[in-house]
């Protein structure tokens, strides 16, 4: 390809424009984060004065870390996203498998009811779900944050699509060899659906790492609050807002996820391609 287009490209004004556009947008898009990093590493007096030679400091991080139990919030968030993803993958694989491979009365109706959740998400039914959690005695627990998200309509939908592409001959062969349905799901379907699961997993983890409203409502103590809620409480003050410390706290809370995704960027895109989410 390049050998054919190369001579044209040398004087291509389109390309120059594309570069200009791409880079301008990139700079605009990274500016808020760049600003957060800059203030987090400089004393608060430089929040509003951009000075290349401002002294560097880690004090904001130290103060933020000491001012709120971020260590505990980390543990909570990691427990939360792991729990949600693990349960989602198990429950939704089972359900998707049933929808993809079994004939039974009411299948389409049930599947339509699953799809309802794509629109009417738990994020919206907060008032009633809060009452349910209160009745179950689960308020202020990590389980309560995850429970409404365990049965994910999106995951069931995606996995069903993927499972349907598995050739029937494969499962007939396995059945003939005396493989149970569960065994078939585990040995044949799940391995083939791995890219879908990876892509879904990434979406799920980032969504629940960053989720705020529902955790804000159901948690009320340090032992259960995830990072987002901890951060919001940290940032609400009766006196003045100290951006350098809040920005340091922001970096503390999103750092690992950010670094993880930057490292796995390529795999992330590829898993989406292979999963057929497009």
């Amino acid at each position: 390809m390049s050998s054919i287009v190369a001579p044209v490209r040398a004087f291509d004004p389109d390309r120059a424009l594309i570069h200009l556009g791409a880079w301008t947008l990139a700079i605009l898009w990274i500016l808020p984060l760049a600003y957060a990093v800059w203030t987090a590493f400089h004393p608060s007096a430089y929040e509003t004065r951009f000075d290349l030679f401002a002294p560097l400091t880690l004090e904001n991080f130290i103060r933020a870390w000491n001012a709120a139990p971020f260590g505990r919030y980390y543990v909570n968030t990691i427990l939360l996203v792991t729990m949600i993803l693990a349960v989602q993958l198990v429950l939704c694989s089972l359900a998707a498998f049933a929808f993809a491979r079994f004939e039974f009365p009411g299948r389409n109706l049930l599947f339509a009811l699953v799809l309802v959740q794509l629109m009417v998400m738990p994020d919206i039914l907060i008032v009633r779900n809060y009452a349910t959690m209160a009745r179950l005695g689960l308020l202020d627990s990590i389980l309560a944050i995850g429970l409404p998200y365990f049965a994910s309509g999106f995951a069931i939908f995606l996995l069903r699509q993927t499972f349907k592409t598995v050739p029937r001959e494969l499962d007939e062969a396995a059945r003939v060899e005396g493989c149970s349905w569960l065994g078939l799901l585990r040995r044949v379907y799940v391995p083939l659906a791995r890219p879908t699961m990876l892509a879904f997993g990434l979406v799920s983890v980032s969504h629940h790492w960053n989720n705020f409203l529902w955790p804000l409502i159901v948690t009320s103590s340090v032992e259960t609050r995830p990072l987002t809620v901890g951060l919001s409480i940290f940032a609400t003050t009766d006196s003045g807002t100290e951006w350098s410390i809040i920005n340091a706290a922001t970096l503390i809370t999103s750092g690992p996820l950010l670094i993880g995704f930057l490292i796995f960027q390529r795999q992330f895109v590829q898993s989406f391609m292979r999963a057929g989410i497009k």
Binding site: S2, V8, I18, H19, A22, L25, A26, I27, W29, I30, P32, L33, Y35, A36, L91, A95, F97, F102, E103, F104, P105, L110, L113, V116, L118, M119, V120, M121, P122, I124, I126, V127, R128, N129, A131, T132, P148, A151, G153, W209, N210, F212, L213, L216, I217, T228, S232, A235, T241, W243, T250, T253, S254, L258, F261, Q265, V269, F272, M273, K278
Partner: protein, 291 residues
């Protein structure tokens, strides 16, 4: 007999997921509808049946009407803006530009940051006088503006943050789609001297149509549920200028503890999403045939 056993197996596979789904989606949706016909129980007073009182109040509540209008504007801005930007980003990054990895990272990074956290950064950007946004404006000789403190601009200020935070996420879907377009098509187009724009309009755009539909469904849902930054930036103010439906539900339900009225608002929200959902289901249906 075997058919029956299959049914039982299917049921066993479905049961856990469906039980949870019914408990936390269908049951609350129905119960919310029922709650909307009752008053809010308070410490000293139990709930009583009030018929359509809550709905009558809704129709006369200027804040609710404002929230509806705001949410429509919010959707009208964030949905197209996010989709167009996501596509533009994907096209930029998919081409052979210098520093592609860096550019892609810049586009994608906002998606990984919690909205609740970036809201503080943006709040600072918008501060009149000393915010960064303002310093850029003043470099162009424009006078300072109190972006989130003025009713005329607060909603736009908030919308911009939403677009910023989600465009990079949608870009990933477009990238995945663009990557499946065979290079041979492009080469053929290049040989025939086809202009970029024509190539995009005739070849790429139709091919990525399913992705556009998928992304637009997501953007629509987000236009109703993305309110995290409101908590930090405006709390729906000033004078409800940036009040969105879900934030209003939160305020009524968990700040004012008026759960019956919050349930009534939720019913409206569910109704809107159902209509949008059914509409998009038909679009998606076409997409499935397409595949």
């Amino acid at each position: 007999m075997t058919v029956r056993r299959d049914w039982l197996t299917a049921l066993a596979f479905l049961a856990p997921a469906l039980a949870l789904l019914f408990t936390f989606t269908h049951y609350p949706a129905i119960q919310t509808l029922i709650d909307s016909f009752w008053s809010t129980p308070r410490g000293r007073r139990a709930a009583v049946f009030v018929g359509s009182d809550n709905y009558a109040r809704l129709m006369q509540d200027p804040v609710f009407l404002r929230a509806m209008v705001n949410n429509a504007i919010y959707a009208a801005i964030t949905i197209p803006a996010s989709i167009i930007l996501a596509l533009v980003m994907a096209l930029f990054v998919e081409g052979r530009i210098r520093g592609r990895a860096l550019v892609r990272m810049s586009y994608f990074t906002p998606t990984m940051l919690p909205l609740i956290a970036v809201a503080n950064i943006w709040l600072f950007f918008y501060l009149p006088g000393f915010g960064l946004f303002e310093q850029i404006r003043s470099a162009f000789g424009l006078s300072p503006r109190n972006w989130v403190g003025s009713p005329e601009t607060a909603l736009y200020g908030v919308s911009m943050v939403t677009v910023w935070s989600q465009a990079g996420f949608f870009m990933i879907f477009y990238l995945a789609a663009l990557n499946t377009i065979p290079p041979s098509l492009r080469e053929a187009a290049a040989i025939e001297g086809c202009r970029r724009w024509t190539f995009f309009r005739r070849v790429i755009w139709p091919l990525i149509m399913p992705t556009t539909l998928f992304v637009s469904v997501n953007a629509t849902i987000n236009a109703f549920r993305t309110v995290d930054h409101i908590f930090v930036m405006t709390q729906g103010g000033p004078n409800n200028a940036s009040m969105l439906l879900l934030y209003y539900i939160y305020e009524q339900g968990f700040r004012f503890w008026d759960t019956a009225y919050a349930a009534t608002l939720t019913v409206v929200m569910v109704a809107i999403l159902s209509v949008v959902g059914i509409g998009q289901f038909f679009l998606l249906d076409r997409r499935v045939h397409y595949r």
